[in-house]
């Protein structure tokens, strides 16, 4: 999937994945896509909840071994 920005929050635990995702999105324009890579298992439900609460679109969630890859559209 194409993306405009990548955020690596591997080895960081709650609340950092969501907090840093919010910060990364602030600097992006509407319609741009942010790729987030995390290892925190809690981030799977957190990202979904974050997208729903803030109106950004969670395009996809993938699990690659111990990593979770999210694509969020602002």
């Amino acid at each position: 999937m194409n993306f405009d920005n990548e955020l690596d929050v591997r080895r960081l635990a709650c609340p950092m994945p969501v907090v840093k995702t919010k910060k990364a999105l602030v600097g992006m324009s509407p319609g741009q896509v942010l790729k987030v890579i995390a290892t925190d298992p809690g981030s799977v439900s957190d990202m979904k909840a974050f997208a729903e609460a803030t109106g950004h679109q969670l395009l996809s969630t993938e699990t690659l071994g111990e990593e979770f890859v999210f694509f969020l559209k602002k």
Binding site: L12, C14, P15, M16, V18, V19, K22, D40, A53, T54
Partner: protein
Amino acid sequence: MGAAETVGGLDASIAKHIEEVVARKVEETLAQLKPKGPPSMTIIATKGTLDWAYPPFILASTGVALGWDVSVFFTFYGLNLLRRDLSTLKVSPLGNPGMPMKMPFGPDWFRHINWNIPNAVQSIVPGFESVATALMKQTIKNKGVADVADLRAVCIEGGVNLIACQMTVDLFGFSHADFIPEVSEYCGATKFLPMAQKADVSLFI
């Protein structure tokens, strides 16, 4: 002209019209009463140990990440969390049976052991609390959880409103100079409670 249908003594068509008008008026009034703006949260933080520093700061930083308005009122031992130097925060396992006591080093099988040290031993051994604090900090670091100072900085950056209880400052003989300058005000419960009343979520930690 045949007999008109009545509903509760009123002509059926009038009754239906009244119902529609009332429904619309109620909705309009409710919309006016509902506060506009993002969801809001107030937290009262009363504990000042390393472990209890996490819930208020994590909840507050997550709240602002979700776009909420968040205010935290630090009172009693919660004032510890507003100190300039957070390295003094300690944690004690004494009388704290809920705390897992696992070593944050060594092979996996070793790390899984829960060392249930009796309270009597904990209270006699000097420096036990310092050791427990150091082990807890190592555990936190191992798992990629932010340290308290970083979490507090995230809260400040995110716009969390930090409020300190003036009564507690007076009670324990503290001074404003002991605390971080980002505290937005020193006030009391009378000022804070109305804020909590207006908030969507109010927590006591």
